[in-house]
């Protein structure tokens, strides 16, 4: 480390000397840059990040805010900012209530001319915000709410979704299960509304791809002997035949005990075991190692799916700015947002396919990674799942089944 530091110091010194020697030539490059701020809105006390820990402080789910992903992307945009005459920055605004968040949004919009907001909030908060800013030159980016309803009945013209929907993730998993011929599935479902949402999304994907459901069984957390048919994994998984077990467990307190304890020796998928997500720290293709390493160096943890969603949201904004003709610090909201939503968008999300937003529901079409705890096993869309126009549209709500009327 010492010699590294010294080499760096020496190189910095030589670069400094060069700067001094060539000051007049430098001036052209360090021309005035217009500040361009992207905001990040979050609620303090968001229950999604404050779920109770498992016994003895064991964390079974990552509780990190995706802000770090956005920060990495803004940091990575400074040189493209040099070419565009823009100085990118990221402002984080926190409030305790949805109303508070709206005032933060208004303040940033009025006082600092912020037009692009990453929103790290649940579906209802996001919907409230989007109604509040309708008709204004403001675009919101959903970086953490997977709810399918946001891409259908509750969709909005001013909300772009970079985080994949539940439908997309479960379609990816269903493709994988069909490809592996795991056709009969036992579904274990927890007691919370979120668990129901996960299970329903999987059941819909199972119907779409032709998986058959052996049975749906409810589980509870606990060791009450009167409830043992609901809290004992062996009992929960016996008396029925299946090729795989799908676990719908938002908290992860029960799900982590399912694998290796099933009555039949079968793989576990869903919330545990084999998981379909936007991103994984072990993804090693299409430039992913560079991004994962950069994230780990700066943030000191693995990059997760929501981090990726925030990262790619910033990347989408910067890409649209560059392609819609932002030069010499001048930007135009209408043309940036039109480019963002246009099929011309070619967004590089380090998943190997050029991504763009679906015109019918503003969802970012993207490959989904199917992974275990330490390896990516598959990338959906899988080979053989065809689509007349765009293979990635085999995942999630496609145009014909779309219920969104963009408002």
């Amino acid at each position: 480390m010492i010699n590294k530091a010294e080499v760096l110091a020496r190189s910095l010194l030589s670069v400094l000397l060069l700067f001094v020697a060539l000051l007049p030539a430098r001036v052209a490059l360090s021309a005035e840059k217009t500040p361009f701020t992207i905001a990040y809105l979050q609620l303090s006390g968001d229950p999604r990040y404050e779920a109770p820990r498992a016994y003895a402080g064991i964390e079974v789910r990552s509780r990190h805010r995706p802000f770090d992903g956005a920060a990495i992307a803004v940091r990575g945009s400074r040189i493209i900012g040099r070419a565009l005459g823009l100085k990118f920055s990221l402002q984080r605004a926190t409030a305790e209530t949805t109303d508070g968040l709206m005032s933060e949004l208004n303040r940033l919009n009025n006082e600092e001319n912020v037009k692009f907001f990453l929103v790290d909030a649940s579906a209802d908060v996001l919907t409230t915000l989007s109604k509040h800013v309708r008709g204004r030159d403001i675009l919101l980016f959903n970086v953490s709410a997977p709810d399918d309803v946001l891409r259908s009945d509750a969709c909005a013209a001013n909300v772009m979704h970079t985080v994949p929907s539940r439908a997309m993730r479960n379609d990816a998993l269903a493709q994988f299960m069909i490809a592996r011929r795991w056709k009969h599935v036992l579904v274990l479902k927890g007691e919370f509304p979120e668990d129901t949402a996960i299970a329903e999304a999987f059941l819909a994907s199972a119907r779409k791809y032709g998986l058959s459901i052996s049975e749906v069984r409810d589980f509870v957390l606990g060791s009450d002997p009167r409830q043992r048919h609901k809290n004992n994994i062996a009992l929960l998984t016996s008396g029925v035949d299946y090729d795989a077990v799908f676990v719908a467990d938002s908290l992860g307190q029960v799900g982590r005990y399912v694998a290796y304890q099933t009555a039949l020796p079968r793989p576990v998928v869903g919330s545990e075991g084999l998981i379909a997500e936007a991103w994984h720290w072990t993804w090693e293709r299409h430039g992913a190692p560079q991004l994962n390493q950069r994230f780990e160096r700066k943030i000191n943890r693995h990059m997760g799916s929501k981090d990726w969603a925030a990262w790619v949201a910033v990347k989408a904004i910067v890409e649209a700015l560059a392609r819609s003709g932002a030069r010499s610090g001048k930007t135009d909201f209408k043309s940036v947002s039109a480019y963002l939503k246009s099929p011309k968008m070619v967004l590089d999300g380090y998943k190997g396919l050029p991504m763009s937003f679906r015109s019918w529901d503003n969802q970012l079409r993207q490959p989904i990674l199917i992974h275990t705890h330490n390896a990516v096993i598959g990338r959906a869309p899988l080979d053989g799942f065809l689509h007349q126009k765009q293979y990635m549209d085999t995942l999630g709500y496609d145009a014909p089944e779309n219920r969104c009327r963009i408002r």
């Binding site: 010699n3 490059l29 040189i79 493209i80 430039g287 590089d348 190997g352 050029p354």
Partner: protein
């Protein structure tokens, strides 16, 4: 010199290594020069082909005439770009995971030296006088100028994230560096280490080829599936080459390496996921043929007589050898894991 390649040296050993190197280097280089010049008198080059395997961290040595794999040897971790020295007696291998450039004798494949502390060298190029390495550094998002003799970074230029391809002009006055993550090509004046222009190009620019008169710079844009053509006088994009081999969709076309023949008439472009190499007529910028090769074709090298085109296939762990007269693959050779760079010692 005999420390394991992966070991990171402390300041003391580093300085000692430099001190001892300055004493030993003339001897080593002298010895290499003698053996190499002897073989150079006999035949033009050793006819050895060196292939860097990024994931197995080794180099496969192939006989350039018989296409037989002779051997493979371990090198530093994640070897990618490779270049000959000016006199072709040495070759350099950039190792991203070890932050160093390993130096090998071309005739023997023996390790003769290492240039340490080059932060994550992705790819690099060599100045025409053979004195300076231009390296793109992943971690710092910089291009650095490394003086080969003194091992010092003499200049560092701030460029876009994930710098990738580096190419120096024949007169050594300019280098082009691609920023994969920022979709830009940076034009850098080598005399004062100044960025002359930041050119916005198509998505995920990877590699370069200059036309023979150096009036056109061809840049592969991997995710956009095109090659952008930049006018080097104005630094503006003046054309594109699109690819679509039969049976593939646009998003499967991910061009990486490209090169232009000595007569300036033909360009070869490795199309990555589309598993083909495109043959392009440079003048009309039209694709004239597609050659089916292995999976994820990305690295290219031409033999000195330009009769053989070698293609590294990153996802099928093999190398395809194309006969450029018939435009057919005449042999595929299994090499290490994720082959990346190819060097042919035949001149």
């Amino acid at each position: 010199m005999n420390q394991p390649l992966t070991q990171r040296t402390t300041l003391g050993t580093f300085l000692a290594a430099i001190a001892s190197l300055s004493r030993v280097a003339p001897l080593i280089f002298g010895a290499v020069a003698i053996t190499a010049s002897m073989s150079a008198d006999a035949i033009a080059g050793s006819d050895l082909v060196y292939i860097s395997n990024e994931k197995s961290s080794n180099i496969t040595v192939v006989d350039g005439n018989t296409f037989e794999v002779l051997r493979a040897f371990d090198t530093c971790r994640r070897p990618r770009g490779m270049h000959f020295s000016l006199d072709r007696k040495l070759f350099y291998v950039g190792c991203a995971d070890d932050s160093q450039i390993a130096v090998y004798a071309t005739a023997t494949g023996n390790l003769v030296d290492r240039i340490l502390n080059v932060e994550e060298p992705e790819t690099f190029d060599l100045s025409p006088d053979g004195k300076t390495l231009y390296v793109s550094n992943e971690e710092d998002a910089t291009a650095s100028f490394v003086d080969i003799k003194t091992r010092k970074v003499v200049a560092e230029v701030e460029i876009g994230e994930e710098p990738e391809g580096v190419l120096v002009t024949k007169d050594g006055s300019t280098i082009y560096v691609a920023s994969e993550a920022n979709n830009m090509v940076h034009v850098i004046n080598t005399k004062n280490a100044e960025v002359v222009a930041d050119i916005l190009v198509d998505v995920r620019p990877r590699r370069f080829a200059l036309s023979i008169d150096e009036k056109e710079l061809w840049v592969s844009a991997e995710l956009a599936g095109v090659v952008d053509i930049i006018d080097t006088a104005t630094n503006k994009i003046i054309g594109d080459v699109y690819f679509l081999p039969k049976g593939f969709r646009k998003e499967q076309v991910t061009p990486v390496d490209l090169l232009i023949t000595r007569d300036g008439k033909t360009a070869y472009v490795a199309l990555g996921r589309a598993n083909h190499v495109a043959v392009v007529d440079v003048a009309s910028r039209k694709v004239t043929d597609y050659i089916l090769v292995g999976k994820r074709a990305w690295g290219l090298a031409l033999s000195a007589d330009e009769k053989r085109l070698w293609v590294a296939n990153g996802l099928s762990d093999d190398v395809s050898i194309i006969d450029t007269a018939s435009l057919k693959v005449i042999k595929s050779i299994a090499v290490g894991k994720v082959p990346y760079g190819i060097l042919i010692d035949d001149q």
